[in-house]
C-alpha cells in the first residue's frame, strides 16, 4: 500500500478530488473503498502516523504513543473516564481487540421507534453485515480461549449466567494476545490490511499526518477542507472535492464540525455522545492465568443486558480485557505497597469488564463534545441511574470470579480492597461510592455526537447520514449512532456505512 505523509507533499500540489474522506478508521476506510469502487477520485486523510504492520512492536509504551489518541491519555473533561481511541492508519480497527458483533436487534428497534430510522432493521442491514464480515474475515471458533476468558466462562456457568464465544475478524491469527498494540503479523483484518489497501489499489490516495482543521463552506455547500500537518499548524493545505466524508470517529467528527462553525440551530452537535462506560473487577487466582498471552477477547455474556425495549435498568455486557503491565498499572487508582502487592501477582490476575449500555433512558443521555482552544473534550457525567448499574456490575463480576475459584477479588476503585468471600464483597461494594473519580471507569467504545435521525431538532444528520445543513457533507463513522449500542461497535459501524454508501 502506498501511503504518503502530508509532510512530504508540496503546498502547491493539485489537491482536487471527487471525494475527500477524513479519518481512516473502519467507517472512513470503507466509505473510501466504496467511492473508489464507483470510479471516484478519492483522498483519505488520517492524522495518525504512516505506520503499518511491519512497524508494530509489542511494547506498550511505544504503541500507546504511536497509535492512540493523546498517547492513550485521553480522558473525559473531569478526568473521571479514561477514553481509549485509535489515532492510526486504520483508526481504532488497528488497535482493537477483534471482537465482532452485529448490532443487537433491540437497539435497531429502539432507533426505529424513537429516532425514525426506518431503514435500520436487521433484515435490511443483514446483507451489509455479511459483506463486511466477509471483507474482514469474521468467523468463530478459530482460537481456543485463553485462561483469562476461560475463567469468565467458568464463573458465569457457576452463577447460572448465559455466555458465548466471540467471533473475531482475523485470518491466520497466531494467538499472540497483543492486538491492542497493532497486530505485528497482519492477522487482524483491520482496515489497515483490508479496505485501505483495496481502496489504494483502485487509486485512492492516502495521506497520513494530515489533520483536518475545518471545512470551508458557503451557503449550503462545503467548498474545501483546510488541513495541516500534525505538529505544524502554520502550514495549511486546501483539499477540494465535490463530496466530503467526515469519518474522524466519535469526538473527532463532532469536533471537526464544531471547529468549522457549521450551522447548529438546535444545538445537537456533539451531544448524545455515548461510551459504554466500563467498570473493572480484578481477581487473583492460585493458578497462572497469564492474561497477557492469547487472543484478548473470546468469551462474552449478554445475560445482564435488557431483553425488552423499554426495560428500566441500563444493563451491561461482560467481557475480559488483555492484561499487560502498563495498562494494568495505570488502571489501579491505589499507591505504595497496595499497588505493588497487586502488580506482583500479574501472572495470576484475571480481570473482567462490564460495558454499560448507555443512551436508552432519560438518565442516560450521554455526554457532549466541546472545544477548548480548538481541542476536543468530552463532558460526560454519571447519574444515579448509571451509578446503580456500576455497583451491580462490580457485584456480578466479583461473584463470577469467586465462583470460578478466585482467591481474592477487588473492585477497581480508589478505595477498592481485596476480599475473599461473597459476603465480604457484598458489604464492601455496597459501601463504596460510585461517583466520578471514585471508581475506575474506562471506555474503548466512543459513539455518537453526530447522531442520525429523522427530526433535525434532535439529530445532526438525516437518516442517510447527510449533515442537515450542508448538502455535500456526509458522516460515515460511529458518531452517527443515536445511542450506545450495547455491544462492541466496529461491525455495526461497517454494516451501517455499507448500507449508507450503497
Amino acid at each position: 500500500m502506498i501511503v504518503q505523509s502530508l509532510k512530504d507533499i508540496s503546498l502547491t500540489s493539485d489537491l482536487n478530488f471527487d471525494v475527500v474522506v477524513v479519518g481512516s478508521g473502519p467507517g472512513g476506510s470503507l466509505s473510501g473503498l466504496k467511492a473508489a469502487q464507483q470510479g471516484k477520485k478519492v483522498a483519505i486523510l488520517e492524522m495518525g502516523r504512516p505506520l503499518q504492520t511491519k512497524d508494530f512492536v509489542l511494547d506498550e509504551a511505544t504503541a500507546y504513543k504511536n497509535l492512540y489518541q493523546e498517547a492513550a491519555g485521553r480522558t473525559s473533561l473531569d478526568g473521571a473516564i479514561t477514553i481509549l481511541q485509535g489515532r492510526a492508519l486504520g483508526g481504532g480497527s488497528t488497535i482493537n481487540w477483534t471482537s465482532s458483533f452485529r448490532t443487537p436487534e433491540l437497539t435497531l428497534k429502539y432507533w426505529q421507534k424513537y429516532f425514525g430510522l426506518k431503514d435500520l432493521s436487521m433484515e435490511k442491514l443483514l446483507p451489509f453485515f455479511k459483506e463486511a464480515e466477509s471483507l474482514i474475515g469474521v468467523k468463530d471458533g478459530e482460537i481456543t480461549p485463553n485462561r483469562n476468558n476461560d475463567l469468565l466462562a467458568e464463573g458465569l456457568s457457576k452463577i447460572g449466567a448465559k455466555h458465548g464465544l466471540i467471533k473475531r475478524n482475523v485470518r491466520g491469527c497466531q494467538n499472540l494476545g497483543y492486538c491492542g498494540l497493532g497486530c505485528p503479523v497482519g492477522a487482524k483484518q483491520s482496515a489497515l490490511v483490508t479496505s485501505l489497501p483495496m481502496a489504494n489499489k483502485l487509486g485512492a490516495e492516502i495521506f497520513c499526518d494530515a489533520v483536518a482543521e475545518r471545512f470551508i463552506w458557503k451557503n449550503s455547500r462545503v467548498e474545501a477542507l483546510e488541513v495541516s500537518v500534525r505538529g505544524l499548524q502554520n502550514q495549511k493545505y486546501i483539499f477540494k472535492a465535490k463530496t466530503f466524508i467526515c469519518a474522524a470517529g466519535a469526538i473527532g467528527s463532532p469536533a471537526l464540525l464544531l471547529r468549522s462553525k457549521v450551522a447548529d440551530p438546535y444545538e445537537t452537535l456533539g451531544k448524545r455522545t455515548f461510551i459504554h462506560p466500563t467498570t473493572i473487577s480484578g481477581a487473583i487466582f492460585k493458578e497462572k492465568v497469564e492474561a497477557y498471552y492469547g487472543a484478548p477477547q473470546t468469551v462474552y455474556s449478554d445475560h445482564f443486558l435488557p431483553t425488552k425495549l423499554e426495560e428500566e435498568a441500563a444493563g451491561f455486557k461482560l467481557e475480559v480485557p488483555p492484561i499487560h503491565p502498563l495498562l494494568l498499572a495505570t488502571s489501579l487508582p491505589i499507591f505504595g505497597k497496595d499497588h505493588y502487592e497487586l502488580m506482583k501477582n500479574l501472572p495470576y490476575i484475571q480481570a473482567t469488564i462490564a460495558l454499560q449500555r448507555d443512551g436508552f433512558h432519560p438518565e442516560s443521555q450521554g455526554g457532549r463534545v466541546i472545544l477548548k482552544n480548538g481541542r476536543p473534550f468530552l463532558d460526560y457525567k454519571f447519574t444515579p441511574y448509571m451509578e446503580k448499574a456500576f455497583r451491580q456490575s462490580l457485584l456480578v463480576m466479583g461473584e463470577a470470579q469467586l465462583a470460578a475459584g478466585a482467591y481474592e477479588v477487588m473492585p477497581i476503585h480508589r478505595q477498592g480492597l481485596r476480599v475473599k468471600s461473597l459476603g465480604a464483597l457484598l458489604k464492601h461494594v455496597n459501601e463504596l461510592s460510585m461517583k466520578a473519580l471514585e471508581l475506575k471507569v474506562v471506555s474503548a467504545h466512543v459513539m455518537g455526537g453526530c447522531a442520525m435521525g429523522a427530526r433535525p431538532q434532535e439529530s445532526v444528520t438525516d437518516p442517510s447520514g447527510r449533515f442537515h445543513h450542508l448538502e455535500n457533507l456526509v458522516i460515515r463513522d460511529g458518531s452517527l449512532f443515536p445511542t450506545g449500542i450495547g455491544t462492541n461497535p466496529m461491525l455495526s459501524i461497517m454494516g451501517l456505512v455499507g448500507q449508507l454508501s450503497s
Partner: protein, 187 residues
Amino acid sequence: MSNKGKLDRRFFLKGGSLAILSSIPLLYWSPIFQQTVPTHDYLKSKELMVMRSLLQAWTNEWPFFVKPVKPIKAESYQAELELGLNGVLSVVRPDKRDELILLLKLLSYGPSCFFLTGHFSPWSDPEKVTQILSRWRVSSKLVEKKVYMAFSSLFAASYYGNKLSWSVIGYPGPPDYVTYIEEEKKL
C-alpha cells in the same frame, strides 16, 4: 515552557480547572525519551523537589529494578524513574503539561500547599507525604480526588513504562513472533 499560571485560590475553585490533570498518558518508555529535555528543565527546583518526594512516597515499597539479574543501585533507580516522568512531560498535551506544572507550583507554595495538603511544607518528610497520599486516596473533596487520580497514572506509568520493571512482577515479555511466523511457514 510556559509556567505562567497564577497562584490564586480561585484556581482551585474553578470547576474543572484541574480536570485534565488526570489525563496523563499511559506512556512512554522508549529510547526517544532518553533524548528529551531533563525534568529539571520543565520544573524549577522547588517543584522538582515536590515531584520527587511525591514519586518517592508513591513508589515506596516498589522494588528496585533488576538489570538484568542484579537490582540496580538506589541512585540509578531514582534516575530511571525520573526519566520515566520526563517521558510523560515530553509527550503530554501542552495544555495538560502546563496544568501539571501549575499543580506542582501550587504544592511548592506554602499557602496553596496548605489548602491541598493541610501542611505548609511537608516535602522533606516522607512519612507526612505518605499520610497526604493516604488522605487524598479517601478524600471526598473534588480537588483532592482529581490531584490523587492525576498522580495515580503518572507515577504508575513512570515505573511500569520501563521494561526493567517486568521481571519484578513476573511478566515474561512478549512472545517472539518472528520465530513464530517462521515456524508456521515451515508447517
